[in-house]
């Protein structure tokens, strides 16, 4: 063991080491085999992320197909039946095959590194969870070939990503299209629950010495909350899917309105899953912001305890707001009032987070790397998304705008402007750790600005046709509705975003082979993942770290002013 060149405080000794990973020099098949049989959290995390990025391209192409169809009035670029399949698959893919896997991927990769562990608590369950999710995604897309049965022409699900009853009942959706949707998401849910259990167990039982819960970085805190939500929310969806299959194959009538069933029952089950799902997706985006903004502001996160409390608060409140998706279905005035107020309540912990991020930026020495640019974009866009969310939480307002493009614009502000922007930020921030290579910053800036322009062109303008009455999921429209010019620009923005994503893809491939060598700590970070090699060795840390504060690397870099002296 070499002697360190600076005195390391006793209580943090061993927190920082660099071990060169062993060079794997096998054949191509051996490499593939190595990935298939791996139980290493880092490789599984990378497989999750790669799998999600592939589906991101697929779902992005579907989005562009939708925009081509809607760019002109009375357009017939694609048939109505294909259009229904494409918007269904776009939504389903983005939520289940892009959003959740990529966030689980980052969690898998980062949580053990951040808490000073060598792997997840259940490495084999981790591999199983990934593979069952991956096979579920493949099964869903196999529906394009086998949807009506092997002998049929084949078609994908076409009932919208929320698959409302009674449209999903056998008389209205014959063949197997709906079954593919239900069965594949059911399988996907098994993987999600497995990963959630793993994350919770890892965080509670695998933290390194000295890392109390309140010394843990905020990212594991957020993933802990998110995993709790997964455990609660996936169950109702799975139950509803089983009930749907019972309806379709075993003569059940849960959602069969003509036989005493209730289509509203489906809506309740789906949205009891569906709204926590929004927070399952957005909480990790918050987690990335919690890590990236302080590092590039050169300040510790403002209000750590408040951030933890807000995260857990969001988790709890988000379980009680689902029926704001159902204002137009018809509820009692008590129901309307309750879900209006509970939805508004979410804005309190969310506002705390926003103020704390701003307070972290305030007075900081800000470095506008690409990761930071995406984070700042996220802050602004998340605020707008929250404001339109509050507007829609008012039941009377929602009655006017529900199922319009205003709602589409709102949730794309959340999913793209919030979550996707932070996923991009996370890619730029942790790509050097994962690959040992830096992403090209110039290409990154191109990516950011194209994405920003495309995003605002698309989703700012999309609010307008919504207010003008353009319904969601509409196939086409007449030229005299006043929606044409808006849709032209919206589609243009979509293609600009597509170009931005292609820049990212090129940057990732190019930088993986030719990027600058990153070194263990390219951003001058403070959390434990930056204390080991890039990419980390199989065992993460040669010496198990011992920490004495929330920023163990700060302590090492600033022995004159360690956090451990004041925490």
């Amino acid at each position: 063991m070499a002697t360190p060149t600076i005195p390391i405080p006793d209580h943090v000794e061993g927190a920082f080491d660099e071990t060169q990973p062993p060079k794997f020099r096998g054949t191509y098949l051996e490499k593939v085999h190595g990935w298939v049989v791996t139980v290493d959290h880092k490789k599984i995390g990378l497989m999750y992320i790669s799998y999600a990025l592939i589906f991101l391209l697929v779902a992005g192409a579907e989005a562009l197909a939708i925009r081509v169809q809607l760019a002109r009035p009375e357009n017939t670029a694609i048939s109505p039946l294909v259009y229904n399949r494409i918007f269904t698959m776009h939504g389903t893919t983005m939520v289940f095959l892009v959003g959740m896997p990529i966030l689980f991927g980052f969690g898998n990769y980062l949580i053990p590194l951040m808490i000073g562990a060598r792997d997840m608590a259940f490495p084999r369950l981790n591999a199983f969870s990934f593979w069952i999710s991956a096979f579920a995604g493949i099964l869903l897309y196999y529906s394009f070939i086998g949807g009506l049965g092997l002998s049929g022409t084949g078609t994908a699900p076409d009932v919208g990503w929320f698959a409302y009853a009674p449209l999903t009942e056998k008389p209205f959706s014959p063949g197997h299209t709906v079954d593919y949707w239900a069965v594949s998401l059911l399988a996907n849910g098994i993987g999600s629950i497995g990963t959630a259990i793993n994350i919770i167990a890892t965080i509670f039982s695998m933290r390194c010495k000295g890392m109390t819960l309140f010394r843990m970085p905020l990212l594991p805190w957020v993933y802990l909350t998110m995993s709790g939500l997964v455990l609660v929310a996936i169950g109702p969806l799975t139950a509803a899917q089983v009930m749907l299959l019972v309806d379709r194959y075993l003569g059940g009538h849960f959602f069969d309105t003509q036989m005493g069933g209730s289509s509203i029952l489906w809506a309740h089950f789906f949205w009891i899953f569906g709204h926590p799902e929004v927070y399952i997706l957005v909480l990790p985006a918050f987690a990335f912001a919690n890590e990236i903004i302080p590092v590039f502001s050169r300040k510790a996160i403002f209000g750590y305890p408040a951030m933890v409390a807000a995260t857990v608060g969001i988790g709890f409140i988000s379980l009680g707001v689902w029926a704001h998706h159902m204002f137009t279905i018809g509820m009692t005035s008590f129901g309307n009032a309750f879900f209006t107020l509970s939805t508004m309540l979410v804005s309190i912990p969310t506002g705390i987070k926003t103020f704390n991020w701003l307070a972290t930026l305030w007075g900081g020495k800000i470095r506008f790397t690409t990761a930071m640019l995406f984070s700042v974009g996220f802050l602004f866009q998340w605020l707008i998304a929250g404001l339109t969310g509050i507007m829609l939480s008012v039941s009377a307002w929602d009655w006017q705008l529900h199922n319009s493009y205003f709602v589409v614009a709102h949730f794309h502000y959340v999913l793209v402007g919030g979550i996707l922007f932070m996923i991009f930020a996370a890619i730029y921030y942790w790509f050097p750790k994962m690959t040992g290579r830096m992403l090209n910053e110039r290409l990154g800036k191109w990516h950011f600005w194209l994405m920003l322009v495309g995003f605002h062109l698309t989703f700012d303008l999309m609010h307008v046709p919504g207010v003008l009455g353009m319904p969601r999921q509409i196939y086409t429209y007449q030229a005299d509705r006043g929606w044409t010019v808006w849709n032209e620009f919206i589609s243009l923005g979509g293609f600009i975003q597509g170009a931005a994503v292609l820049v990212l893809v090129y940057n990732m491939v190019h930088s993986y082979f030719r990027g600058a060598v990153a070194g263990p700590d390219p951003w001058d970070g403070w959390t434990l993942e930056w204390s080991t090699a890039s990419p980390p060795p199989d065992y993460n840390f040669a010496v198990e770290p011992v920490v004495a504060s929330r920023r163990p690397l700060w302590d090492l870099k600033h022995p004159e002013d360690p956090d451990s002296a004041v925490e």
């Binding site: 049989v37 792997d119 096979f135 086998g146 008590f334 199989d538 600033h558 002013d561």
Partner: protein, 290 residues
């Protein structure tokens, strides 16, 4: 560098122990079990034969998985080459601002007690009833008009009530109105107690007039969308007068009950929470001035 797979028992006797780490051995069983399950699911929508195949794979993989972890978990040993990185201290040294111990305290250093906010809310809540009831009595000769307008928001089966209904007593509306009035005025009173010390000069002007007028305007605009019928029934001048009266009375009560120096007397930078030693320090600065 990896070594051949061995059980953890073997590992304990290994001479690598001191310089190696034991990690779970790679295994195909999780992938195969997932494949088996996926095929069973796929069989539901394709062919029964796939179910048998999937089940066979799943059982085979489950047995393999058990054998992977029982009786001893299979692990691999990876040799560790440790080298402590020469950590360079950051170029940016930390500079502490030389101020007294109170420099991190966010002003105001003191605030009103919460009970003064509660009392202000009660006083304002009673006062604001006066112009509202005056309007109801003069215009409709009824005490219950404004009560029903406020309480009707929470009475589910009362949609678009007639003028006759609005001017007569209704128990459910009465209870709802009292709850709304009580809760909101108390909360806003407490809010005043917390916020008035933060506001610059003439807090009663801002809290008593500007804020209520802005609130009235916001409500006027929003009700046009949320409930146009209700907006049409409200007399907005008397509504605004009620709000202003609440603000003035609550603000005055809170200010009188508390005994705080107004922050308007300190520089803007300090009011904004900017660390500005020398402008308004703690005891040390004041001591120097003396």
């Amino acid at each position: 560098m990896t070594t051949p797979i061995a059980s953890s028992q073997d590992a304990k006797a290994s001479h690598h122990e001191r310089n190696s780490v034991h990690l779970p051995a790679p295994t195909p069983w999780p992938m195969l079990l997932a494949l088996g399950f996926a095929l069973v699911f796929a069989a539901l929508v394709t062919s029964q034969g796939l179910a048998y195949l999937g089940l066979a794979i799943a059982v085979y993989a489950a047995i393999g998985w058990f054998r992977q972890v029982l009786p001893e978990e299979h692990v691999i040993h990876i040799e560790v080459e440790t080298e402590v990185v020469a950590i360079q201290p950051s170029n940016r040294t930390v500079t502490r601002i030389d101020v007294d111990e109170t420099h991190r305290a966010q002003l105001p250093l003191k605030t009103f007690t919460w009970i003064s906010g509660v009392k202000g809310g009660i006083a304002g809540g009673i006062a604001m009833v006066i112009p509202a009831e005056l309007y109801g009595l003069i215009r409709f000769h009824s005490l219950w008009y404004v009560v029903n307008l406020l309480g009707g928001a929470g009475v589910g089966d009362w949609t678009n009530p007639t003028m006759e209904q609005l001017t007569h007593f209704r128990l459910s509306a009465f209870i709802t109105a009292n709850i709304i009035q009580g809760v909101v005025t108390l909360l806003v009173g407490v809010l005043y107690g917390a916020m008035l010390p933060l506001w610059p000069k003439r807090p009663v002007l801002l809290g008593g007039i500007v804020a209520p007028v802005l609130w009235t305007g916001l409500l006027y605009g929003a009700l046009n969308i949320v409930n146009p019928y209700l907006r049409g029934k409200i007399d907005w001048w008397s509504f605004a007068a009620s709000q202003v009266l609440f603000g003035v009375v609550a603000g005055y009560t809170v200010s009188r009950l508390g005994d705080l120096k107004s922050l308007a007397q300190v520089p803007l930078a300090v009011r904004l929470g900017v660390e500005s030693p020398g402008l308004e320090g703690g005891e040390r600065d004041r001591g120097q001035r003396r």
